[in-house]
């Protein structure tokens, strides 16, 4: 079998030219400073490529229960808060159960292409369970990409083992590079058979994270850094974190909002630490992420494979049902490879079309043209989608919205707004707030929301909030619809005044 093998020996050069043949334009701008090798991996990676991610699914295996540090935004009654919303409990699987479940899902859903281990604790604090899972899958489903997320505490010691598997990328959660800041985020770590607290603990953790990051980059393994934005604790500091981790070769720095509610029983939740507002988050993401659209839509490896096709298929893959399944693994593997070849060909032809001069959708790449006044300002447009790159979700069913920035240069994915995620703490989080209130708040800053259908009540409420719903583009490809709406707004004279301070693509 022929798989895109991972070259462990070639260190990724961080200084290759920013613009190579075939990928000039917006894509090159987004991946500025990354080597060709890294860029190729990113472009075809279902988690990071804007194009690829509509076509693929990933899932999580909850095999790693233990953790070796405490974060102030986490309560160990629940799953690790780095990777899931606090308050979630997943069913712990043995490595064998996890392998069988993954194979069953991969047989039923050929889009499955990535298996991640991120919890419910820290994968590297459970090395036997984590590596047994990777070993089994590397053998039985060698086409699946494997990934893991870690707090980094024991990363340097585990790298040799890690590098043995088909691990294309590792996510390290790095919230600080200064032990003073760290002491406010991590009350303790378990290190060399002792519990270490405070500044001393943070200092060890930070040193291990940085060393682990450097070692992964030296081996050519993609490293993504996640940071949790904690207002008043590390918000300004994250710019420094971003500068350092990027200089060391992390290909992506993803800033996620703190979620702190008293109900979750976390230190931050109980102490009344507030979560960032959507605008604070976006400002920081803009600064840390630069222009890399892939950062915004990276889904933190959420376990969405089972819901890929819109309907929740989790019930099909309970342990009993998986145990009873008879699966032709070879046939399943071939189906996946065939699907991937088809998608790759589609993406290739789409890219080729996009590169053809004269294509109205793409020829507007800024620096290939003489500067002139923009036709109209850019607009944020939210989209309800269940995947496949289409506007195919009912407004009321959407649990997250993709946010596109539409401008003359085209539609650019700039973020994801989860309707149940943006809690700003304090009074706005009180009882009376409905899901619709929260959704409207999550969509702040957007001027349109596109969905397949929407009810009368939310329609009126959204309009009153200055967000015009639009159900006219159901089942259309997202980017086409977003641009059609932008052109409508332009024609209607709504885009004349550039909004001060707004970034235009």
């Amino acid at each position: 079998m022929d798989f895109p093998a991972f070259d462990q020996t070639a260190p990724a050069s961080a200084h290759a030219s920013a613009c190579s043949a075939g990928s000039c334009g917006s894509t090159a701008a987004q991946m500025n400073g990354l080597s060709d090798e890294v860029r190729r991996k990113v472009q075809n990676h279902p988690c990071y490529s804007e194009e690829a991610h509509h076509h693929f699914a990933r899932m999580h295996a909850a095999v790693a229960p233990a953790c070796n540090i405490q974060c102030n935004y986490c309560n160990r009654k629940y799953d690790c808060s780095n990777e899931s919303r606090p308050g979630v409990v997943s069913e712990l699987l043995t490595p064998e159960q996890a392998i069988n479940k993954t194979l069953a899902v991969a047989a039923a859903i050929p889009q499955l292409s990535v298996l991640g281990i991120a919890g419910p604790g820290d994968p590297l604090a459970n090395p036997e369970r984590t590596f047994a899972t990777f070993r089994g899958l590397a053998e039985k489903a060698p086409d699946l990409k494997l990934c893991l997320s870690t707090n980094g505490l024991v990363l340097p010691e585990q790298i040799d083992e890690l590098a043995k598997y088909n691990i294309e990328h590792v996510t390290i959660t790095i919230n600080c590079v200064d032990p003073e800041v760290g002491a406010k985020i991590y009350p303790w770590i378990f290190w060399n058979n002792r519990r270490i607290r405070g500044r001393a603990a943070a200092k060890i953790l930070i040193a291990q994270q940085q060393k682990g990051l450097e070692m992964l980059v030296a081996r050519g393994i993609l490293v993504k850094v996640n940071s949790v934005l904690i207002p008043g604790v590390n918000d300004q500091h994250l710019r420094e974190v971003s500068r350092i981790v990027k200089a060391k070769g992390a290909f992506l720095h993803n800033v996620t909002p703190l979620i702190a509610e008293a109900e979750h029983g976390t230190f931050f939740g109980l102490m009344g630490q507030r979560s960032p507002r959507a605008d604070e988050l976006k400002a920081l993401q803009d600064d840390c992420a630069g222009d890399m659209a892939m950062m915004r839509h990276c889904r933190q490896c959420r376990a969405d494979a089972v819901g890929l096709l819109g309907e929740d298929r989790g019930a099909e893959f309970t342990l009993d049902k998986v145990a009873a399944m008879e699966i032709d693994h070879q046939a399943a593997l071939e189906r996946r490879l065939a699907l991937r070849a088809k998608v790759a060909a589609e993406l290739e032809s789409k890219r080729a079309r996009a590169a053809t001069p004269g294509d109205p959708a793409r020829q507007v790449i800024a620096w290939h043209r003489q500067p002139r006044a923009a036709l109209g300002r850019s607009v944020l447009i939210a989209v309800a989608s269940r995947g496949s790159g289409l506007i195919n979700e009912h407004f009321g069913h959407a649990r997250e919205f993709l946010v596109y920035e539409a401008s003359e240069a085209g539609a650019r994915l700039v973020g994801q707004r989860k309707t149940d995620l943006y809690c700003s703490g304090g009074e706005t989080c009180g009882d009376g707030e409905t899901v619709l209130d929260r959704t409207i708040r999550a969509l702040a800053g957007c001027e349109r929301v596109l969905c397949s259908k929407i009810g009368i009540e939310p329609w009126g409420r959204l309009e009153a909030a200055g967000i015009k719903p639009d159900g006219e583009h159901g089942m259309e490809p997202i980017e086409d619809a977003v641009m059609a709406v932008w052109r409508e707004m332009l024609a209607a004279g709504l885009l004349a005044t550039p909004v001060a301070g707004k970034r235009c693509a």
């Binding site: 229960p65 233990a66 953790c67 070796n68 405490q70 102030n72 160990r76 009654k77 419910p120 604790g121 604090a125 459970n126 036997e128 009350p187 303790w188 378990f190 058979n193 002792r194 519990r195 008293a262 109900e263 230190f267 109980l270 102490m271 009882d431």
Partner: protein, 92 residues
């Protein structure tokens, strides 16, 4: 001389692989310590390993039923603050 795991244990598995005497085992509704095997890590480690990694206050107790990680010692949330917030939540 033995430690005991009590009901606030969240079954996180962190302690189990660390025990030098394999005294800890998975059980329902929570993990257990085999009192015949537990030495409180004497001779192996300066600190009882299970209590040094356990993330939950009060989950591990000694023979006098004193918590090795008493309230507030791991989270930094004082028992008074904890009670006040719980009352606030209950009153909603």
């Amino acid at each position: 001389m033995a430690l005991e795991i009590v009901e606030s244990c969240v079954n996180c598995w962190a302690c189990e692989p660390l025990c030098p005497n394999q005294a800890i085992y998975e059980a329902k509704p929570h993990f257990m310590v085999d009192a015949n095997k537990c030495t409180e890590c004497a001779g192996d480690f300066a600190d009882a390993q299970c209590a040094a990694i356990c993330p939950v206050e009060g989950a591990i107790v000694n023979e006098r039923h004193e918590a090795l990680n008493p309230p507030g010692s791991l989270t930094g949330i004082s028992p008074a603050r904890w009670a006040a917030v719980q009352a606030e939540i209950a009153a909603r």
